[in-house]
């Protein structure tokens, strides 16, 4: 008995060490970036590992005001909220029909959507610029939202239809027997059941779009329409010409990072279960 007890301990210790070290790196990044943002450039270059001697809060003021992060924050918030809401409005009904409907070609149509997950987004860069230009919505937040919703459809429908498929059909049949129309079945029975799946998919898309970078890089030109990721990128370019202001850059990164991390602390379980829902049936 004692032998097996001793045998487990060092292995478990090693496991804790490995996992602990890796996890600590995540924490370290957040902490270090915040600390770096409070230093001066000379301080950061001189002693990158140490705590800031006298915190320079004006790095934040500069990032927020003269580098317009308040503006970018608003843009990101608008685009992402509207996109997620629109995405749900479009994807939930579609996924419902694709998973529980009975019509010819249902499987094919579903696979058609899922196939979209394999289309590399860079392939679409140039045609999307041309298309949104012709529609007059290039370089606008509206155009960006429309593209976001469209590109998120394959994955979202994939996850949602998986979720819908797993719902029991007895309630549905019972409702129909009771004389409910198809619409009432959807609205009163299936939709409430779908709420957790929809919520998770919403959170996942919110995070993904909040941090989205390549599509906005291509579609957005004017500084006033920049989202937060573009804001950080523009901060990278602008800091180069202002004496290499890395602390200012890290202040911008913190502004972007802290809200998501804070949200994550509360919603991590939700997010993680949502991802696994899609990949693991």
């Amino acid at each position: 008995m004692r032998r097996s007890a001793m045998k487990i301990s060092p292995k478990k210790l090693l496991a804790y060490l490995i996992l602990g070290a890796w996890s600590a790196l995540s924490v370290f990044l957040v902490v270090w970036v915040i600390m770096a943002s409070l230093k001066t450039t000379r301080g950061l270059f001189g002693k990158p590992w140490s705590l800031p001697t006298s915190p320079v809060f004006e790095n934040y003021v500069k990032a927020w005001v003269s580098n317009r992060f308040e503006h970018y924050f608003l843009n990101s918030f608008l685009v992402v909220s509207c996109s997620v809401v629109a995405l749900l409005l479009v994807a939930v009904p579609a996924a419902y029909v694709l998973s529980r409907g009975q019509f010819k070609g249902r499987r094919t149509l579903l696979n058609f959507f899922i196939f979209g997950m394999g289309i590399p987004i860079p392939l679409l860069f140039i045609p999307l610029v041309v298309l949104t230009t012709e529609l007059g919505i290039v370089d606008t937040l509206v155009g960006l939202s429309v593209v976001y919703v469209s590109i998120a459809l394959p994955f979202t429908i994939y996850v949602l239809q998986g979720f819908f498929s797993s719902l029991p059909s007895e309630l549905e049949s019972a409702a129909i027997i009771d004389g409910c129309s198809d619409w009432q079945v959807f609205w009163h029975v299936m939709l409430p059941l779908a709420a957790p799946g929809a919520a998770t998919v919403a959170i996942l898309n919110f995070v993904a779009l909040w941090n989205e970078y390549q599509i906005s890089l291509v579609l957005i030109n004017s500084p006033e329409n920049r989202t937060l990721s573009l804001g950080i990128y523009s901060l990278i370019t602008s800091m180069q010409y202002s004496g290499g202001n890395w602390p200012g850059l890290f202040a911008g990164v913190t502004i972007v990072m802290v809200p998501t991390v804070a949200l994550y602390i509360f919603l991590s379980e939700r997010m993680i279960s949502g991802i696994t829902m899609g990949g693991v049936k």
Binding site: T41, R42, F45, G46, K62, S66, N67, R68, V129, T133, G136, V138, D139, N221, S222, P223, E224, S234, T237, S238, Q240, Y241, S242, G243, G244, N245
Partner: protein
């Protein structure tokens, strides 16, 4: 009054002229300006002050500015295709010349500015980016290419600004003995590293040597021993002048080393003191010297590579005339003075003194015997070859990934292929 008729006529005239004056004054135009500066930069502040002053003097002209940062031309191009209307923009003159100007998106200025405009600017400035005698750009900021150095470190090493290549190498050794690095480079900036090779070739073979070498359609000009020699000399800087880890510096990490007192100098444009001003503080002792001569070469130390920043009016600008009027004001003494004081840059107008920290550069600009384009000038007429082949391959040679011999051979073959495909 003589008669009621004349009274009537007079009142009509008065009213008519009053109306005319009124309608003339209400010709309000909002000029859209896309700028290469980032909003917090001092140059942007200077431009804002200038635009405010102009609006005060001409209330009917207001400005709508988009501060895009250095990728201005790229962003503007996308916007133009989307139908966005822009009046004028600015960017590095050579990039404009190889970009929007070449694509016919620029408004021709000769008619509006006339013959005499050239003489309001420093010699050679107005013509530098002209195409076949036609002018599309108004240069307003003047950058020269020099070795920018920390006077303290040079003093400590007991050195003086070198006049020849050999003197430069001995200066490097002297600085090395004090424990500092003589030169620093930005390893990943293919344009900056090109300054050494292009200047060396121009010192050996004379001004515009790089272009002339490229324009030999057989590609054989690259095999001239002077070319290989320049490449080798550039690479030899790593022996005693540049620290080995500089090959990994991603811009702007390299130039920070000067602000932090690790390195003495960098071969770069005169924008460096302004870019580093918040790291160096205002009491940094900047000095600049021109690229030294190469023994036995044709180029003189007073031949200068320059990079002018220009304003350009768009061909489809909604208010071209008003834009040009503003740009005339911008290159006038008053506005240029503001650029010097608030922006900390060298300017193109004749007779306006540059900021004190750029004194050496101003002297170089005034005493320049020939002006050539920065980085050898390939970016103007051969932009795609420059971006896809010349600059990256040279950087590989400079960082030691291919030998100078392979580099010149490759350039020779690629040049031949380029001209064959035309």
């Amino acid at each position: 009054m003589k008669s009621s008729a004349s009274r009537f006529a007079l009142s009509v005239l008065t009213i008519a002229s009053g109306l005319a004056a009124f309608s003339g004054a209400s010709q309000a135009s909002e000029l859209t300006f896309w700028s290469m500066w980032n909003e917090p930069e001092p140059q942007a502040e200077a431009l804002r002050a200038i635009m405010d002053a102009y609006t005060k003097a001409h209330p009917e002209t207001t400005f709508k500015v988009v501060w895009n940062g250095r990728q201005n031309q790229t962003k503007l191009r996308g916007a133009l295709q989307a139908g966005t209307k822009v009046d004028f923009m600015d960017q590095d003159g050579d990039q404009l010349a190889g970009g929007l100007q070449k694509q016919g998106q620029a408004y021709q200025l000769d008619e509006a500015l006339g013959e005499g405009f050239k003489d309001t600017l420093l010699p050679g400035a107005y013509d530098l980016y002209a195409e076949g005698g036609k002018h599309f750009q108004i240069p307003y900021v003047y950058n020269t290419v020099n070795f920018w150095y920390d006077k303290e470190i040079m003093k400590e090493a007991g050195g003086t600004p070198p006049k020849t290549w050999t003197e430069l190498l001995s200066l490097c050794e002297a600085v090395g003995k004090t424990g500092k690095h003589a030169l620093v480079v930005e390893g990943n900036d293919t344009a900056y590293t090109l300054l050494y090779f292009s200047n060396l070739l121009e010192r050996e073979l004379g001004p515009n040597a790089v272009i002339k070498t490229f324009e030999d359609k057989s590609g054989k000009a690259w095999l001239d021993p002077a070319v290989l020699d320049s490449a080798k000399k550039a690479y030899s800087l790593w022996d005693s002048c540049i620290a080995a880890d500089a090959r990994g510096f991603q811009y702007p990490a390299g130039q920070q080393t000067i602000a932090l007192g690790d390195s003495m100098a960098e071969l770069v444009g005169s924008w460096l003191p302004t870019e580093l001003s918040s790291s160096t503080g205002s009491d940094f002792a900047w000095g600049a010297f021109n690229f030294p001569e190469v023994e036995g070469g044709k180029g003189k130390q007073t031949d200068l590579q320059v990079a002018l920043l220009s304003m350009m009016v768009l061909k489809d600008a909604p208010h071209p005339q008003e834009a040009i009027d503003f740009l005339k004001y911008l290159t006038g003494a008053e506005a240029q003075q503001v650029l010097v004081e608030k922006g900390g840059v060298g300017v193109t107008a004749k007779g306006v003194a540059w900021p004190e920290v750029l004194t050496d550069a101003y002297e170089a600009a005034q005493n320049a015997t020939t002006l050539t384009n920065i980085y050898g000038g390939m970016s103007i007429n051969y932009a795609d070859f420059y971006t896809t082949k010349f600059a990256p391959e040279h950087n590989k040679m400079f960082l030691g990934q291919i030998t100078p011999e392979d580099f010149v051979k490759m350039m020779s073959e690629e040049t031949k292929a380029y001209w064959a495909g035309k």
